[in-house]
């Protein structure tokens, strides 16, 4: 067996870790796709939104491994959505991929600027500043008539490479696109976590000063992770805009950021599959609990969050790991 092309010294696992994740991710993606293409429309829609939100959550993963919890991912989520929607409204852009690209790019640009400031903060101040920034966007959007104020506006049906999917296949196309993007992002983040910067990510949480004393810039690592998180959130927002067909300023409200944090904690940060699991479970609970009793779903979520924090600090994913070990 050839030496693994990364830092893992031999003996860490009998198979090169990267390949195992690659096959696992691809298998799951394939299974999800096949199963869901046969599912009813509402399920396809639910899964699409869940996976799109999962993108935002996987963007949170590196930050949370550093010990930093952003309460402002909604900033980029909303920005990505509005960018995609406005591209359609003002520039007649209807291609889904282009909309996603615009959402992600605009988020990247903002994050590259904002990140310079935010990467200096730690603990609750990181959370508070990120929250303030997303509320700034909310404040702006809510009062801007041209963008529909609190009502937001609708997003026209999308096209894909010039072809407009028929009514029946819209959900299928959307699902295939989002599953592909989710799979790619999972692999990208996985690879990222194996690079030096990715490894330093976990070190920061334990002992930032030691890392500095080794010759590394913790700030740089945090900055990189922040920009990555922003881009993924922007992409997620653009997808949701296209899938739902409507966007409004609530997408930037702090409770939206809270949802993403919630999903991240629920699933844990141990695996790149966890964010999507967390997002799916959350969306499922939201839908079903809401249908059964609209005034108790938040309670159920709150209680689950509490239970996870207290008893399963690594998130629900740690249950899988325990099963694996035994």
């Amino acid at each position: 067996m050839s030496a693994p092309k990364e830092l893992s010294p031999p003996g860490e696992s009998s198979l090169p870790t990267r390949d195992r994740t690659l096959t696992t991710v691809l298998t799951i993606a394939g299974a999800v796709l096949l199963l869901s293409l046969a599912a009813p429309q509402w399920a396809k829609f639910l899964l699409t939104i869940a996976l799109a939100k999962g993108l935002v959550v996987i963007g949170l993963l590196p930050q949370m491994r550093t010990g930093l919890v952003s309460f402002g991912q909604a900033l980029y989520y909303c920005l990505g959505a509005y960018a995609a929607g406005l591209a359609g409204k003002w520039f007649a852009v209807s291609d889904l991929i282009l909309m996603i690209f615009i959402g992600g790019s605009l988020s990247a640009v903002l994050a590259l600027v904002v990140g310079v400031l935010l990467s200096r903060y730690r603990g609750i101040f990181y959370g508070l500043l990120s929250l303030a920034l997303s509320m700034i966007l909310y404040g702006l959007l809510v009062k801007t008539e041209a963008l529909g104020s609190t009502d937001g506006f609708n997003v026209a049906p999308f096209t894909l490479f010039g072809y407009r999917p028929e009514q029946d296949s819209v959900r299928n196309v959307m699902l295939i696109v989002v599953t592909t993007i989710a799979t790619v992002s999972a692999l990208v983040i996985h690879r990222h976590l194996k690079t030096p910067i990715g490894r330093m990510t976990t070190a920061i949480r334990d002992n930032e000063i030691r890392l500095e004393y080794m010759g590394a810039s913790a700030r740089r690592v945090i900055y990189v992770n922040y920009v990555i998180g922003a881009v993924l959130a922007g992409i997620g927002g653009a997808i949701v805009a296209a899938a739902v067909g409507h966007i409004d300023p609530e997408m930037a409200y702090w409770t939206m950021s809270g949802e993403f944090v919630f999903m991240a904690i629920l699933a844990g940060t141990a695996s790149v599959l966890a964010p999507f699991l967390g997002a799916t479970i959350f969306s499922a609970i939201h839908s079903f609990a809401f249908d059964v009793s609209p005034n108790t779903w938040q309670m159920i979520l709150g209680a689950s969050l509490l239970l996870v924090i207290v008893f399963l600090p690594e998130g629900l994913w740690s249950l899988f790991r325990r099963a694996e070990r035994s």
């Binding site: 010294p9 030096p196 330093m200 976990t202 080794m214």
Partner: protein, 260 residues
């Protein structure tokens, strides 16, 4: 003999406490210097200033001719000065091998290797070997193989200190500061530990400064001793002379317990 580190007129006060008073000293390349003094005498402050953690109120520090006084710890480390800590500073939730991997990651990253888009096998600069080979070498040299997959948090104190020191060597430093490497180690084991540590350092070459309270260790391993008291250097010379210096006996060793 070229001076690799030189401190000129360093002063540092914390309110009413004078941590450093007019510290001026030149360290020769490849020397092994023992830093002695009671607690609070200024040894750690000196190390903190040279490694960039504290900035002196006045004075400057030169490393290989370059003024490094205002540089951050990160910058100082990248130029070739590393340090270990009085209380071992490790990544507690990570295993021993993962701790070493972090140190390797930093070195590789600084050498622009092993990034997201690089698919070539990385080579650790300074060792010209693959990362896992360097890791295994360090584990072996510091007798840490048995602890390889244990979390740093649960390691015994002596092992933590060894790991702390091992981590500093990954960057192949030209100057290494060891802050009380044997503190917390039992008297019988001190010599063995220092033998191992110094042997490993010598095989890499470089200048070493270490803080130590055990005078036997000082005598055995250093070729020069700096004695600190009240923020000043009160004696400077080879161990035999310095350790019998009357001021040193009075303020550091304790006159009535003078050892020959």
């Amino acid at each position: 003999m070229a001076l690799i580190v030189s401190a000129e007129g360093l002063n540092k006060k914390f309110g009413a406490v004078t941590a450093a008073q007019d510290i001026t000293v030149g360290i020769e390349r490849d020397s092994v210097v023992g830093l002695i003094g009671t607690n609070g005498a200024g040894k750690t402050t000196f190390i903190n200033m040279v490694t960039g953690y504290l900035k002196p109120d006045t004075g400057r520090i030169l490393f290989d001719g370059e003024d490094i006084t205002q540089l951050s710890p990160r910058e100082v480390t990248k130029r070739g000065i590393s340090r270990s800590f009085q209380i071992a500073q490790l990544y507690n939730s990570l295993t021993v091998i993962e701790n070493i991997t972090i140190a390797l990651s930093v070195v590789l990253d600084n050498a622009d290797q092993s990034g997201f888009f690089s698919f070539a096998d990385p080579i650790v600069p300074g060792f010209e070997q693959k990362p896992h080979e360097v890791a295994n070498m360090l584990l072996e040299r510091f007798q840490l193989q048995a602890y390889r997959d244990r979390k740093a948090q649960i390691l015994p104190g002596g092992v933590r200190k060894l790991l702390d020191i091992a981590l500093t060597l990954v960057a192949k430093p030209k100057v290494l500061f060891l802050d009380e490497p044997t503190s917390g180690i039992s008297a019988q084991e001190k010599f063995g530990m220092m033998d191992m540590v110094m042997g490993n350092i010598r095989s890499q070459g470089g200048t070493v400064l270490f803080v130590e309270h055990d005078m036997d260790v000082i005598k055995r391993f250093s070729n020069r001793v700096l004695a600190f008291y009240d923020g000043r250097i009160i004696a400077d010379g080879p161990p035999q002379t310095t350790l019998s210096d009357p001021d040193v006996l009075k303020y550091v060793v304790g006159g009535h317990r003078a050892k020959g």
